[in-house]
Symmetry: C2
Subunit: 393 residues, 2 copies
């Protein structure tokens, strides 16, 4: 009966639950080795520093830490965020909007710009929870072909001509799910297309600081002419702590005000306590040193995963070789749907995310995403061994 009481919106009727969230929800069994979530290793959290940061916040700011505040965000955090973003792209605190994690940033941009049926161009494959945010506002997502250096400028040009998109969505660095990084040349070429065609960019950069090797590449927003046509998302989740739900975005001009107004409607403001604690953390502790420590650990795990895959993957299968971030993307090829392997894998004590939900359209179902950040090299090897059994490699 209850099923009939609430009539769902037609936009919502397209929504599916996140396969990642659902896989995580059933992973209660302690003996499952999970490559599924992009879950930072919790043993690396700077727990003592956060404890001090929350204590400082409630001690030093007093009632302000528990009171309503502005929608745009706390000045202390906007200043720290601007300072960090300015390493690659000059950013004023008043160009920063605080968000409750990057996911809220994705959603705010989508709801501000997209009417049902409007097109967002995305990478093929792309981040599945972005697909969720875009679906929720009724966007039509079109995947654009990529090679190992990222989205193909010619393909982007064609897709813009064909689809008149509202927005292009890219994760240029250590992309989720592929781990791929767009080269500097490719960034320039993509920026040239966007500036010429006048299509704005939503640039998602939650992993960029998690670099294990190679040269850091500035965001596409730092390309000539791009700052004013890009909303650039950053997050504390991947480099500090996901549990505090603090992120920020950089934008210029009118769109910044529009995003602020959208945020009033969606959630009023981000938790003040968390904003001030994160701002204090950034002002007081050495985040770069923390990231270096995390990168050292993750590098070893990536190496373990790549070595384990090299030893086990069948003929014709490929795996990406990311220089940072959290994910390796595996393509088996042939005609086996990785989603059909998953139940058997879970029975054998290993989990991954099947590739299909990362595609806006035309999924390659022989793919899967493996996260290398949560487990030790030994566990990674054991997990890959179980995975090989599940697949019959």
């Amino acid at each position: 009966m209850t099923e009939d009481v609430f009539r769902l919106s037609s936009r919502f009727a397209q929504m599916k639950s996140s396969p990642v969230r659902d896989i995580l929800a059933v992973l209660g069994r302690g003996d499952i080795i999970s490559f599924a979530g992009g879950i930072p290793d919790p043993t690396l959290f700077e727990l003592a520093d956060f404890r001090e940061s929350f204590a400082y916040t409630l001690e030093n700011y007093g009632p302000r830490a528990l009171q309503y505040a502005s929608t745009i965000g706390e000045p202390e955090l906007r200043e720290q965020a601007a300072k960090r973003m300015s390493r690659h792209l000059p950013t004023e605190p008043n160009q920063v909007q605080v968000t409750s994690g990057s996911q809220e940033g994705l959603y705010l941009v989508a709801t501000t710009l997209v009417d049902p049926g409007d097109v967002i161009l995305v990478e093929r494959p792309t981040y599945l929870t972005a697909v969720q945010a875009f679906t929720l506002v009724g966007a039509r997502m079109v995947g654009v072909d990529s090679d190992e250096f990222g989205m193909l400028p010619d393909a982007l040009d064609d897709a813009i001509e064909t689809h008149d998109p509202k927005l292009v969505y890219l994760i240029p660095t250590f992309q989720n799910p592929t781990g791929r990084t767009m080269s500097a040349d490719r960034r320039a070429a993509i920026a040239e297309v966007l500036v010429r065609t006048g299509v704005p960019l939503l640039e998602d950069d939650p992993y960029g600081e998690l670099r294990f090797e190679g040269e850091s590449v500035p965001p596409i927003a730092a390309q000539p002419g791009m700052a004013e046509r890009t909303v650039l998302l950053n997050s504390a989740s991947k480099v500090m702590a996901p549990g505090v739900r603090v992120g920020w975005l950089r934008a210029e001009g009118q769109i910044l005000r529009s995003l602020e107004i959208a945020k009033q409607g969606v959630g009023l403001q981000t938790a003040v306590t968390d904003q001030l604690a994160v701002a204090h953390y950034l002002a007081t502790y050495d985040l770069d040193a923390h990231i270096a420590k995390v990168a050292d650990v993750y590098r070893t795990r990536r190496d373990a995963m790549l070595a384990g895959l090299d030893a086990r993957l069948p003929e014709g299968a490929t795996a990406t070789r990311p220089e940072g971030g959290m994910f390796v993307w595996v393509r088996i090829g042939g005609d086996v749907d990785s989603a059909l392997i998953l139940p058997k894998a879970v029975d054998l004590g290993v989990a991954f995310v099947p590739g299909w939900p990362f595609y806006a359209d035309h999924p390659d179902r022989t793919t899967m995403r493996l996260s290398f950040v949560t487990n030790s090299p030994e566990m990674i090897d054991e997990g890959l061994s179980r995975l090989a059994t599940a697949w019959g490699w």
Copy 2:
């Protein structure tokens, strides 16, 4: 140039910034007595208890307090929320979805149910930030007439017949902006209409526990047949602390799962740190004793405001006499738009919220909302004196 880069969605083009947020943003001047915001008196926050709750959370839960977690919410908080809601309506923890404040709850329900052009029936007047959330999903809001006991059942019946609404939105207790409480008889009559016509209810109850006098009235969701057709929103903001952005909603059946999926897209999850800290606070401290203390203070302020208004309001003007909550609603009558008085009032050192934005349609512009919770009785009297000068009473 930037203005042209981003093409706004047509839904968003209807959005206006919250007048309350905008008024609050310009109230930098220390000598302004503000009746504008529904801002709890920060001197009443249980700062030491929250300090201990955050310290306990980071000490006791360790990395879990900083890690990703479920979208539905932390078990500890869902249990506490269910316990509290069960005082009026039996509630299981698995009927609770945690939200980032009530505002997110409003938005999630709206985006799950409403297609552009769908009707939501609201009180006349209603909560202006709900109007923002509903506008953002393209809802058409229709105001239904009310008297001193709340929405009129016959008017609701007629409006349902005329508009085939997706949803009715009500704040039955100490309503924002009027302070009015719907009587038990009226709740039964409204429930009868909703059960008979099959229209679901979004019941917003952020102030219900802030009762200064009189008998507590159970939510409409507790009326026969209503639990399964109501989404009931509660919040920590008004009785504990708004800065932590923690609220929760109660629902049954399929809609609960739909709201969870919508939340994945909008913001993934609420901050774990804050959820665990609020859960610890609820499990450890005496919230009822805190509320009683707050109610004592607010009662005195309400009395001061009502006495000051009685002494000053001109012939024909009316003010509500709320038994709790935060707001008095004043109707001057005649043809003066309160929004035109506001600048003069601010010059004279007093602020209020003009009545018009609280109406979905056909605003009565001679009205204004006065919050009595932020200022001492002496300040309230001084503020009302300035207000009288501004209006020329």
